[in-house]
Point group: C2
Chain length 336, copies 2
DNA sequence: AACCGTGCTGGGAGCGCTTGCAGACTAAGC
DNA sequence: GCTTAGTCTGCAAGCGCTCCCAGCACGGTT
């Protein structure tokens, strides 16, 4: 703690040094009109001489704009955020925010204390806008957000309703792609391990699977519900094997679960893709390094973040953006 | 954009409804002394009746405290942040911040614009404190931070100097552990693929390797410098194989590089760990899923974040914390 | 010569909150 | 009963900035 006290340079000092009024100085800082060339230059000089930087707080108070948006992750477990997924989203968001004067605040609303904070935020305009990723089913926050006092864009869609503004990945389309891929490979007894059915992504991927099989005229009853986790995937695969010993392929709603499944399959002496073909979802880094490398569905995660930010910016600018669904694509590797 | 306009409830309204002065109301909000029980209760009632939430901006202006700290990642590439490492750090940080009234702001200082922003932040107290992770060598920001106008704690140490407040993982110790493990396994021609030598972690891990071999009286000249990336690891391994065909083990400064190396080793027909034993660093998730699963050094990443936040909190409270070095540990798997 | 833009200019009133301070009031202490 | 200390209480002065507004100067119209 050196000299945290040497007071900040204020607008008044700048004005004085430049020999103009505070109002005039303010105008040139925000380069507003109605300032003569001469004064404008004088102020600019003073600014660099003094090393003036506007006080964001004071400005915020005066303009009633915070100058910051928040990315809120509402979830029941703090660990979800450890998922690299979010790191990527953040990179996307931050890449577009970087070109604005907005700061990014992060809220991991996992404890009830944090949830309350988020709620208040939504009500009381402590941020100019929020990007909300709500992970579990009927999150009350999600509803609250819809009628919030501040613009909200959703990342992903809750299961229970369709928010007004959101950007989502085409989970259903991706799942269909994956399943069709299995069909095209000649598999006929195609099972699925779903994600959590109280999450939008889990539900959508399951629907995609059903659609593809319906089109192909195949049986879509080999279903076990998982939870997106590796351990859950292993469990689900054991159950699948027990209940549907005849399966020759399975579409698994996340790579993590696929990895768990692979282990079980190996222990059970099933060859992949010989006996059973596997396709996962997400294209996490690990998917390239499994044995065999995992065929999976990739989604443009950074774009997701980028588009969320852009949409929010649009909202802040008074536009009325339309929801966005980002394409997913099949990445064929050795597990099919 | 519904009715973002219904004005906020202010302290004055609370005071009026409670029949007290604004000062009194303020005191109970901040539960300061010198308020009679009766008025205290009255104000509290008014607060809930009105749904009052203090305006953070106004408070910040009055108290000269922002109520937020920032996590800044200074780097030349935006992609570094995509590393799950940071997601974990953030989880740690946010878990301790959650119990305070501080918000977390994120700055990925990757463009020069963002760098400038960070610089100003450091000078002008736009945050109450900052946690800085500076990735590349002689980052001018790092020096700037040391004499900043606001408390700064470093995550990891720059190569060029030792900051006053930091928390770091015991990279050197971990590397020593890893190398000793190789020695203990009877390997004698132990090479290393280092990380970037302009990063603290890269340097420290290299030193640890050297130390261990010195103690064991073994040759420490089988060295190739990598860059922490998977591709770089592959490249380095090819070079290593070409220059030191006799090696029987290699300590690789990151799991990513180890993964790249594994591929090269396989192509070269070398068995792991039969012909050459491998140990990585970081214990990323993928490390469990390589073929064979990777022996590696794990570091307590969430703790790193947690301790950074705690240290910053201490600083804000006027304490003078001492730097912290977190232990790393060897995780033995099948590659050794 | 009276009149009307048009573009600058600075004064000053906020934005919502904290806090030093002086006054009022209460409870002891002698 | 009067001082002394102690506890409330509200006034008012900020925190640093924005922005409305009235005032002014200047040049061009009638």
């Amino acid at each position: 703690m050196t000299d945290h006290l040497k007071r900040q340079v204020t607008l008044d000092e700048v004005a004085e040094r430049a020999g103009v009024s505070r109002s005039a100085a303010s105008r040139v800082i925000n380069n507003a009109p109605h300032v003569s060339k001469a004064k404008r230059v004088a102020v600019q000089r003073a600014v660099v001489d003094l090393g003036y930087v506007p006080n964001a707080t004071a400005r915020a108070l005066a303009t009633q704009q915070v100058g910051a948006v928040v990315l809120a992750i509402s979830s029941d477990s703090p660990q979800v955020f450890a998922d690299p997924f979010f790191a990527e989203v953040v990179v996307g968001i931050s890449s577009v925010l970087e070109e604005t004067d907005l700061e990014l605040m992060l809220m991991l609303a996992t404890s009830s204390r944090a949830q309350t904070k988020l709620e208040q935020l939504l009500r009381t305009r402590q941020a100019d806008g929020v990007m909300l990723m709500s992970m579990h089913g009927d999150d009350p926050l999600a509803h609250l957000a819809e009628k919030a006092d501040v613009p909200v864009v959703f990342g992903g869609r809750p299961v229970t309703f369709e928010p007004q503004y959101y950007v989502d990945a085409d989970n259903r389309g991706g799942a269909r792609l994956a399943t069709e891929h299995l069909v095209a490979a000649g598999r006929t007894r195609i099972a699925t391990i779903t994600g959590r059915m109280d999450e939008g992504a889990g539900m959508a991927r399951y629907k995609g699977y059903q659609e593809a099989l319906a089109v192909a005229g195949l049986d879509a009853s080999r279903v076990v519900h998982g939870d997106f986790s590796e351990e859950g995937g292993a469990r689900a695969m054991r159950q699948l094997l027990a209940e549907h010993a005849d399966l020759d392929a399975v579409f698994i709603a996340s790579d993590q679960m696929a990895i768990g499944s692979l282990r079980v399959l190996k222990d059970a002496g099933k060859a992949v893709p010989g006996d059973v073909a596997i396709v996962g979802f997400n294209d996490i880094t690990s998917a390239r390094h499994t044995e065999p490398p995992l065929t999976t569905v990739g989604q443009p995660i950074q774009s997701l973040g980028r588009e969320m930010a852009r949409m929010l910016l649009g909202l802040l600018a008074g536009e009325t953006p339309t929801p966005l669904i980002l394409p997913t694509r099949l990445i064929a590797r050795a597990s099919t």
